[in-house]
Symmetry: D2
């Protein structure tokens, strides 16, 4: 069985396991105050070109979104998101669980547009009833999006400018950031993201780590008593070294970027295979997730040899599925996919 259903069906990259072994017997203080966590923060600041950024580590993506969003929003505020945003669709209502509304705006292929955002904010702030409404207090974007698409530097700059104009922080969910940064069709570097966003997270779970995400407050200060907020939300790891060491490793010798690059190289190869096999794309993307359209008979056949993700029904007889590569995908796996794509 070839596993292409997601980018977290693997363990960690070898370098991470090696360093876990090497440092295992050290006595280190807890809760992220260990030297590896501190070193990792410094390396991330450096990679972001943002020497004053504050960096914090959390265990997973949904947790990170809920902790960051709920600790930044004020009582009367909610988070603006594209309807398709992960926080709005696939996080089980974890933002609302913290007492805050998600303010949905229509997106295109997962992306929010600066124009739609600007119109909404203009309308909101001219509404005489706004004191009875949830105020937009943060803008959430994902990059890559849930559909594998990417913002251009121009697009993200426009969104950033709108946010700055209204004094609203821009937050970027980088669960798969490594693949976005190494896409062959992007002009957005990590330093651009750090500069355009107020806060964002660099995803580890899907890019080489066992678990862990690095939150970077590059444009605003982290909330006061952030450790307390993390603890209160059940998200503080006693052995913070576990995530700190992983990010220290990922940001040594550009490992994070090399892992992302591998995932992209595998994705490009997979796209070629799909094209060779004349499989119609529902959405062909510049990152590690590809969405294809299969007849339901093909779907059944494929499912005997390949694990994939169901995405949505296209019509009575067709289904959209997602195939994802990752830092761990092998050429053998893609060859097996090629062989399985004979209907």
């Amino acid at each position: 069985m070839v596993s292409l259903e997601c980018d977290y069906n693997n363990g960690a990259c070898d370098q991470i396991l090696q360093r876990l072994l090497e440092t295992n017997r050290e006595r280190l203080p807890g809760y992220g105050t260990d030297k590896y966590s501190l070193a990792a923060k410094e390396k991330i600041r450096s990679a972001c070109g943002c020497k004053d950024a504050e960096v914090e580590f959390l265990a997973g993506g949904t947790q990170t979104n809920a902790v960051v969003i709920s600790s930044l929003l004020r009582d009367h505020e909610g988070a603006v998101s594209a309807t398709t945003g992960h926080i709005n669709q696939h996080e089980a209502g974890s933002v609302e669980y913290t007492g805050h509304k998600i303010l949905e705006l229509p997106g295109i292929h997962g992306k929010l547009s600066a124009d739609v955002l600007r119109d909404y904010l203009l309308q909101f702030h001219s509404d005489p009833n706004r004191e009875h409404m949830v105020w937009p207090g943060l803008v959430y974007v994902s990059h890559p999006t849930e559909y594998g698409t990417l913002y251009t530097k121009s697009e993200l700059s426009s969104i950033s400018a709108v946010c700055k104009g209204y004094g609203i922080p821009l937050y970027l969910d980088g669960a798969r950031l490594g693949y976005g940064l190494m896409s062959r069709d992007t002009d957005l570097a990590l330093q651009d993201i750090a500069s355009l966003c107020d806060v964002f997270y660099i995803g580890g779970t899907k890019v080489g780590a066992l678990c862990g995400e690095a939150v970077v407050f590059s444009g605003i200060r982290k909330p006061m008593h952030f450790t307390n907020a993390v603890k209160k939300r059940g998200a503080l790891l006693a052995k913070g070294r576990l995530v700190g060491l992983q990010f220290d490793t990922l940001f040594t010798d550009d490992l994070y970027f090399r892992l992302g690059e591998h995932g992209i190289r595998m994705a490009e190869r997979m796209k070629n295979i799909l094209r060779d096999r004349k499989i119609p794309f529902f959405l062909e993307t510049p990152t590690n997730q590809q969405f294809i359209l299969l007849e339901d008979g093909q779907l059944a056949t494929l499912s005997e040899q390949v694990s994939f993700s169901y995405w949505e029904k296209a019509d009575e007889e067709h289904t959209v599925i997602r195939l994802a590569t990752s830092w761990a995908t092998t050429e053998d796996e893609l060859e097996a996919l090629r062989k399985a794509l004979v209907f």
Copy 2:
């Protein structure tokens, strides 16, 4: 100045004030256990044709929505609503404050359609990722809607059938129910609503009372420990008699319906005046709220003599405003409106 900006710019109907005076010196137990509250519940059950219904009183509409929805939803559930639903737009995120998501569906002129609802539920329940999503656990409709429109018996029956098919309670927000019931274009009686909905509220604040809404659990049992839930949400009035007595009065001698009928009669007269004056309707409705389109110059002129509600900008030069009648609107007020509508 003529006040037509809303239906809560008045006091209470005379009968209510009279009975407050008459009963003022009585010593009565608190928290809604007084005899007037009990009598009111019985009268409401009778009017609903639902002798087993449980009735509870709360102070206001947003409070009622939040208490009812949050005490009915289970942990993994959210409330389905049209995008324009009052809970989704103008209640400051009070449902989300209780930790539950509102699941938006597109509506038409404020109304949810059974087809849209059915498609959504079908898709949700066939989604393999649904354990990571918020489950639809209640369907919210308002009647009249925020746009003054009404469901037909056939439409509400279809929605009710979809809900029953999925075992999801149907909840109707009747903030302006009196006007809906007495509309000249409705085939939905109170008993129909009690029969088709699982729970709904009969609005008092906008139909003759100083404050107060009556929640009717007609199709399901009220949640266990409901008094505790009300107290926990800060919504338990010590002098429950205040709301109980008002509803006892409103449901004596059909007063609630007569007040609604007055509001509708005034609305019909107002519509005639608007038509006479050739004022274009943005939305002409069968209830007590009318939405008209004015040039911004007209708007400025009108605002010197008439209080109205800003609704939305129509385009660069036009604005939509709302004019509302109520149980308290007088013919003199409408004549003054007529005079003011000369541009």
Copy 3:
């Protein structure tokens, strides 16, 4: 049956009903922006000797406590209260429902002591683990307390000084403030309270109103977007005039104080009756609540003629009950009590 079980078993004072009648037909804007609400705020500021205070109206005590406390606390903070505090015992967990802990300290007869508070704060702020703990972010006291007791000016000054020393707002729950202010054994005037506390509420429900409490921010600014916070918590009355007009009346011609004085005069008379009848006090208080100790046989006898509140079991054969007077208690009622107290 004589009703002495509580101080909210009555309607409103005559003056309030009279003014409701007089103003009933006026068209007034909603949500507390009407002229009566504005006038009431001004009168309260004046009575408090605090011309810059911000005043807001809410419907009931539990609601007021939850709204004020949750909108003042920051994410990492909780509210300090005596164990016996109403918020900690009899509000169904409404503060915790907003996501904040109540930090219990032992009290004496309902009162918190400055020494206990100071020791706790000193210990907390020297605890190296405090980032894993809930920070004291507000101090809650009630006056009169749940046991009818009162702080002296010296005691409240000491608590206030401790709070100021730590930069923590002091909040006073004045559900029965009228009785406290008019007690014959108090040296705390309303202006003292306004000066010593940062925020407090003047209880209307138990002192002459149908419903309503007036929150006074005398030492700190009210939170930004407070109307939104009130709305979000389901506590915004559409017809804000209902509470505003009541407080406008209560603070005209010292009515609030005269009502309190009546309740105290009746309480003093009741204490005399209890002493005459040789009924042992569990707690004799300077306000309108008295706690007496009855043999269970006496209890049964009394309950045939008098309504009282069960307080707690004293031992196998004795029970503590509460008798409360109010602004509405009559001499006839007390005479009936005297007659019933024959065992």
Copy 4:
């Protein structure tokens, strides 16, 4: 420097790292559905002697407490805990963050007594005002407690019987369960705990794992849609294998118990050293945490060579500190402690 400040200053036991290496390249499904998680659940059920138990894995202790407690409590309920309970003191209000109160009862050396619990429940259920109060809906105990103490089988049986009598689930926090089970002064085996408690967790973080706790529902069913509840609270790990594999390892060949036994052996040796050095115990315990009393001069001296945890000030000149052993403590470390304990 000798690190005895806590039991989570280490990495993982060798066997866990070895298995992470061995399985690293396997493609496994996410969210705890992998074969190692399933195998671990089976082994835990077997070790608990409870073949129908449901087992779930979470990342850390505070998270586990908040997820379990908030998903078991109903709207009107809170969790009963000793005042010293970890959830009540050192989890930053994470239970209250979910909207539920902690109902404090006095404990002795961290332990709740069945008598105190029974009296409280009896009093609560006879209180006529209980609908205005938070209902006890779960009893929380920790074993070992925060003070290193242990319940006897008789004590836990009594608490269990009280809980059963009131139909309230008993939940045991086993953050350090391995040390409790292997104490030389315990008669409580894992199977006893599974039998007496309704739900409990077996702590991994402090007993050999990098992270992770295993929740065992032995006496009640796990809540419906538990995965959704976990996701909603930000606690669902994408790579569930990380915790599953660790517990699979810990429950192979009694490793968990052997690790616990080592921690206890080291603790006994440390106690001997402390006694040899005539260091007064503040609390000598049967588990891996020991509390000693030092003069502040001694404290300063010791802190140059030994890391310990500040516990509390004993008086002006003395301080209580905690020294903890763990599965990773070495004899060399204890010898270094011995050498450092010369004042």
